[in-house]
């Protein structure tokens, strides 16, 4: 039994390979004219034409190499009881592909009924489909049954189903309607036309079609699987399917999948195909040209409308791009902010220090200029005793480039521990990824020149006036966080700025000031926190 099954596998594999080879052969095989232009004779010549178009196969005229395929061809040509049969073309083609075979006595017995098991075996050889469901054990199909594997495959690929209580009835003769339902389901056929319309328009005996079969039979009809002999308008759904019927249905199923060519209009069998239409003409160099209007009509027919889409603007909340140095961006009319700064210790001391700030904007930085005004309370132990007011005049040159001039601590009251500074700065945002949700989406660079607190440490120590360069670089590494490097003119600060709550414009910027110990007495921890307000 194992040997027999192995032989069946090998034969099925060879049939499948040949079928695939034929299907994937040169375009000339797939195009209709090769069949259409063949003489309107028996399929023997067409079969040989198929052979010649399949390069892997030996020359059938070479008697020294008589492959299995050639043997099949020979069998097809010699089945004694199909000559002149209405289904001869279908039978010849399937025998040549080893999907269906004759009997040892050289007959095909086209009128013999087909059992469900036999049909499953034919499906196994005809169609290569992926499994869509798990195997099931049928109580009446033991593993020793000759068709058990074909039945399982037919079930798993969706071609056949069992009956209630997990019985398959493998030896039951299969009705025509079941064959069509099986092929429609297994091949995934469908139709957009109402099944009732198709069935009533196609078959005089449509009322005999069982309810469960109406939709799949309609799909089979629309895809030209149905072959009715002798009366094309009579489906005879509940009549037992003959071997000829099944050969015709399977061939049409293969044709719908493009695996085999459609029968030519001159073939007698084509007159029994429901809804048959001649194969489309493949254009050749001798084809009649179309008029310009016909061409334009065809183009209009083939064009597709563009899918409707919309553009969505996504506004983000962003972390900071600097620690201690100003940038050229700022608030304008409708903007405000509050914030605070904390130092673990100030320079050359062990005392912590904190500052609170509130600011608002005027003007329009994009059209004209924006004016930023910031009130800072520098002594949190006694608010309002010591404080400053700073101004920044800023202008957006482009949406990602700005310039500004600022007067830090222009107004001072009490005894703030910091002088007034005038500065000018330019800032540029480099967009690395247009979607700021992606990592490393933008790099912000600011460079400026300022007086007083921006002077070098040595100038400050010596009391020298003058100006110095400052700048900062902020890299948005992920959407809610940026890494920052900031040179204030005296020291280098490194830090990170984060948005701790998604969508909330609260910015926290912890940093280490004076990492190189260039100013003061070494690195110090500083923390900034700010909340952006947009009215």
């Amino acid at each position: 039994m194992r040997t027999l099954k192995l032989a069946i596998y090998i034969l099925a594999a060879l049939a499948t390979y040949n079928l695939s080879a034929a299907a994937n052969a040169s375009p000339s095989f797939m195009k209709e004219p090769d069949v259409k232009q063949s003489s309107p004779q028996r399929l023997n010549s067409s079969v040989l034409q198929l052979l010649s178009s399949t390069p892997q196969l030996p020359n059938p005229t070479n008697t020294k190499q008589f492959s299995k395929r050639a043997s099949d061809l020979a069998q097809a040509a010699t089945l004694s009881d199909i000559q002149g049969n209405w289904a001869e073309s279908f039978i010849q083609a399937l025998v040549a592909r080893n999907i269906i075979q004759g009997f040892p006595d050289g007959t095909f017995r086209p009128e013999q009924p087909v059992t469900r098991a036999e049909f499953a075996a034919m499906l196994d050889k005809a169609f290569q489909k992926n499994s869509i469901r798990e195997a099931v054990t049928f109580s009446d199909v033991p593993t020793s049954y000759w068709g058990s594997e074909a039945i399982q495959k037919a079930y798993q690929t969706g071609f056949l189903a069992g009956y209630p209580n997990n019985v398959f009835l493998p030896n039951q003769n299969i009705p025509r309607v079941q064959v069509l339902v099986s092929l429609a389901n297994g091949l995934g056929l469908s139709t957009t036309t109402a099944p009732t319309d198709i069935l009533t328009n196609s078959f005089q005996d449509a009322a005999q079609i069982p309810d469960f079969a109406r939709t799949p039979v309609a799909a089979a009809t629309a895809n030209r699987l149905v072959v009715n002999y002798p009366n094309v308008a009579l489906l005879n759904p509940n009549q037992v399917a003959t071997r000829a019927d099944v050969a015709a249905f399977i061939y049409q199923g293969l044709a719908s999948a493009g695996t085999v060519p459609q029968l030519s209009a001159t073939d007698v069998a084509s007159s029994y195909i429901v809804g048959y239409q001649p194969p489309t003409t493949t254009p050749s160099s001798g084809a009649a040209p179309t008029t310009p209007q016909q061409t334009e009509d065809l183009r209009a027919q083939f064009r597709l409308p563009l899918p409707p889409v919309i553009e969505v603007v996504r506004v983000g909340v962003f972390s900071g791009t600097t620690i201690a140095s100003p940038t050229a961006f700022g608030v304008q009319y409708g903007d405000a902010f509050i914030g605070a700064s904390l130092q673990s210790r100030t320079r050359r001391s062990h005392s912590a220090d904190g500052t609170a700030a509130v600011g608002f904007g005027l003007g329009d930085a994009r059209r004209y200029v924006g004016l930023e005004t910031v009130l800072a309370l520098v002594d949190l132990s006694d608010p309002f005793q010591d404080g400053t007011v700073s101004f920044k005049l800023h202008r957006l040159i482009t949406k990602d480039f700005a310039v500004a001039i600022g007067f830090e601590n222009a107004i001072r009251w009490g005894s703030p521990d910091g002088g007034s500074s005038i500065y000018g700065v330019a800032s540029k945002v480099f967009t690395l990824d247009s979607d700021f949700r992606n990592p490393l989406s933008r790099l912000t660079v600011s460079v400026g020149v300022g007086s007083d607190r921006f002077r070098s440490e040595s100038d400050i120590r010596r009391g020298n006036d003058g100006a110095n360069v400052f700048g900062s670089v902020g890299l948005q590494v992920i959407e809610p966080a940026s890494l920052i490097a900031d040179w204030t003119g005296q020291d280098l600060s490194l830090g990170i700025s984060v948005i701790p709550f998604r969508g909330v414009p609260l910015v926290i910027t912890p940093a280490v000031a004076d990492v190189t110990g260039n100013a003061g007495d070494g690195p110090r921890f500083v923390l900034g926190a700010g909340y952006a307000i947009r009215f």
Partner: protein, 210 residues
């Protein structure tokens, strides 16, 4: 103090400001504690949130989430049909035409950017470029290659990006507009397959909002 101060109006305006700054500089303390922490004299303390022109991004999508879901369902169904060789032609005005299974599988590989996508892309290009009646011009070749490039990776895990679908349809229409009547009168199966897929996706994306 004759001519001690310049008479230019701008300089008159700026001079007091500069003088104030210089005066302030001479009055500072040594630690500069109020200006050596995180900056509290500008809005930079509150992050980069005051530049709406750059703090927003625009992306293209379908008209509604329901439409997107429908497109993805159709894309999944199309993948199954292509894999099983069950793709039907889009138009009923091309009777009797079927799409070979090999073409359907190749198209699936192209749409899903399979490992052999480059190979099948070339296959489709050759089929379209060498279609009967096709113009043997560099322009036509460019249009065809643009189409295959837009189709590559169009359906990934049943997802179809709206912008990519739109670009694919535009590329397809460009090929159609450059095709001759002979080609369209007997279209190659590759073109029919592409049309079948795109037409279904466009139909899904064109459903009204629910």
């Amino acid at each position: 103090m004759k001519n001690k101060f310049p008479h230019h109006p701008i300089r008159r305006l700026l001079l007091p400001i500069v003088a104030l700054g210089l005066f302030s500089a001479t009055a500072q303390a040594q630690t500069q504690s109020d200006v050596s922490g995180a900056i509290t004299t500008t809005s930079d303390l509150a992050g980069f949130n005051f530049s709406p022109g750059i703090n927003s991004s625009t992306y293209t999508t379908y008209t509604s989430p329901a439409v997107r879901a429908t497109v993805e369902q159709i894309a999944a169904a199309l993948s199954e049909q292509l894999a099983g060789g069950g793709l039907a032609v889009a138009a009923t005005d091309i009777p009797g035409t079927s799409i070979p299974r090999s073409v359907q599988r190749a198209l699936q590989d192209l749409l899903t950017a399979d490992a052999n996508a480059a190979e099948v892309s070339s296959q489709f290009e050759q089929a379209l470029i060498n279609a009967p009646g096709a113009a043997n011009t560099a322009e036509n070749t460019t249009l065809v290659r643009n189409l295959t490039s837009k189709l590559q990776g169009l359906i990934v895990d049943s997802r179809v990006e709206a912008l990519q679908l739109r670009a694919a349809v535009e590329a397809y229409n460009a090929v159609i507009d450059a095709s001759s009547g002979e080609t369209l009168g007997s279209p190659p199966p590759e073109l029919l397959a592409i049309r079948a897929v795109l037409s279904r996706l466009v139909a899904a994306a064109s459903e009204e909002r629910k």
